[in-house]
Amino acid sequence: MSSIPHDHAAGHHVDHDHAHHPSGTMRWITTTNHKDIGTLYLWFSFIMFLAGGVMALAIRAELFQPGLQLVEPEFFNQLNTVHGLVMIFGAIMPAAVGFANWQVPLMIGAPDMAFARMNNWSFWLLPFAAVLLLSSFVVPGGAASAGWTLYPPLSVQTGMGMDLTIFAVHIMGASSIMGSINIITTILNMRAPGMTMMKMPLFVWTWLITAYLLIAVMPVLAGAVTMLLTDRHFGTSFFNAAGGGDPVMFQHIFWFFGHPEVYIMILPSFGIVSTIIPAFARKPLFGYASMVYATASIAILSFLVWAHHMFTVGMPAAGQVFFMYVTMLIAVPTAVKVFNWVATMWKGSMTFETPMLFAIGFIFMFTVGGFTGLVLALVPVDIVLHDTYYVVAHFHYVLVAGSLFAFFGGIYYWLPKWCGRMYDETLGEWHFWTSFVFFNITFFPMHFLGLAGMPRRVPDYATQFTDWNEVASIGAFGFGLSQLIFLYAVLKAIRSGPPAPAKPWEGSDTLEWTLPSPAPYHTFENPPQVS
């Protein structure tokens, strides 16, 4: 039978004989199939990425010139806050779960996720949460405007947009927790015979560790925002000094979640890069065991560094020094990973198709972001750079040029398996180069702005910061437009790309490439034998 082309990446390959299998809208609402659910997560995350991107462009449009031209300051703060929440909870995290859903069962030879129906619910909670979050723009008082970090006292005082945000965060947290339980159980219990833990592909390892981080810290975030809610409406004083509480305590609780959260956002991308580099260098990953241990070390250390987000709250020097040293320590296992990726390429037989371009771009620019993170780890430096644009530059380098670029690489890499068609390599390369150039135009100058003293989260700035702000805004619009190339490339591939072979990438060696392209709806119903 022919593949029915439609807007979703999972092909309709007739290996199944469900007479009762629903089609159309009901198929997508009731599916318990990991491929369908992976597709849903990925499209959802892309839509949220575009929504968050529009907010970013509004921010950059306002910041193009000093003065207030386009938006009121209160609305600007809402844009800032919701941009952060949408990108973190609506784009990056669901995209990572989408990759996990598609790839983890395929890479371990399992027929599906351990809890297929809970998997469906994990996804469908997200559009509901997204509606809550985005609709907060139109309620009285507007959306939450205290920054994505929701610090009190401000977050305790603002209007009902904050309550909608708190509920959205609860729901998204529940979705992440359920998804993580699913992923851990699948990986621990459902590997094909012969696939020991130390034979699992590194992408599976990074998601196993990420899932443990998620179940450890998402409940803490839930507690923190619940305390905000009760302070707002039920007379508690967790963060109210007059009632015996302390706003700084929120920062401790929040960042106890928040620091592991940033590693949650990057570890799956490490796994994707660890998959792509060996495939396109035609050489096994260098130092597999050390990569596993490095990832686990990063995860464990991530629990011990939270207060490096709080160096200026009035902490005694002893505390600052402890957190500075442990933060610098995380650079060690991270460097091990970077060295191993480079060592994988050393004397490899390399080609530079789009997935490899994104993976190599990731290595360069995540390293830049990691270096600026090391700079910020130094207490005397951070006292000056805290809440400046230097921080904004740092985290956009690691999250956009890091995490997001790895996701793009992963999409180009796996799209042939998911939908059975090759993407247009020229379009992919255009997408990479325009994204790479415009990303750097946007965010590199922010280092200068931060060093020069421009604060973050401001709708207006002193005139000496104008030039670099203009450059960054132009870059931002370029970067935004570049993502339309990606959308076009993906849609074109799905609709009319040339049929892809089972193994389009010569150097890939994981289980999914033993399957036809597109992967059949049900796979590995009998587990494969792994040598």
């Binding site: 351990a114 809890f115 927790i177 993580s180 339980i181 851990i184 159980t185 621990l188 219990n189 459902m190 179940i215 450890a216 810290v217 998402m218 409940p219 803490v220 975030l221 839930a222 507690g223 923190a224 305390m227 007379g235 004083s237 967790f238 109210n240 000094a241 007059a242 009632g243 302390d246 305590m249 401790h252 609780i253 106890f256 009035g314 005694p316």
Partner: protein
């Protein structure tokens, strides 16, 4: 029990689900447990000790310098009048002094408030030793009650020499009474 994974995969999945669910619940509790944990650490380290009198180690009066003290009073969503009787006072470091604040509850109902101090520059907090202060306890007022309340303090002589002016600002918040 010798059910291997291959014999009963659904059972082992369910067992792991329960174990991981317990982790989730425990971590949620841990988040709330951080609240008393934070209080205990603050007490153990002596940080944020704002509702007890300070101890003064050095009571040598330094007559070679004077420090200008400016007093400020604010209310947060309260129909109270709150003012310092003296706006500015000059003291020598090490010299015990007293200033008085006056509060009037202008409403018809009994109310209780808590005053929270704030210092400018921020580092002055360490050197402004309060021996007695109405900010150490909640203050209850009957309807239309007016009261004067003292702050007895000493400026620690170790105050850096380049600090010549310190502002002490109180804000009264409403709290549940005793």
């Amino acid at each position: 029990m010798s059910d291997t994974k291959l014999d009963d995969p659904r059972q082992s999945n369910r067992t792991l689900l329960v174990k991981l669910g317990v982790v989730v619940v425990v971590m949620f509790g841990f988040g709330f447990a951080l609240v008393p944990f934070y209080d205990q650490i603050c007490k153990a380290t002596g940080l944020r000790d704002i509702d007890n009198p300070d101890r003064l180690e050095n009571s040598q009066v330094d007559r070679t310098r004077t420090v200008r003290l400016e007093f400020d009073a604010n209310v947060h969503k309260l129909s109270w009048t709150f003012r310092p009787l003296a706006q500015v006072v000059s003291v020598h470091p090490g010299e015990m002094a007293q200033v008085v604040y006056e509060v009037e509850n202008r409403t018809e109902r009994p109310m209780t408030g808590q005053a929270v101090p704030s210092y400018g520059p921020q580092l002055a907090a360490e050197y402004f030793k309060k021996l007695d202060c109405f900010c150490f306890a909640k203050q209850s007022f009957g309807p239309h009650e007016r009261r004067q309340m003292p702050v007895v303090f000493v400026i620690d002589p170790r105050l850096p020499r380049d600090v010549n002016t310190i502002s002490l600002s109180y804000t009264f918040f409403e709290v549940e009474g005793n």
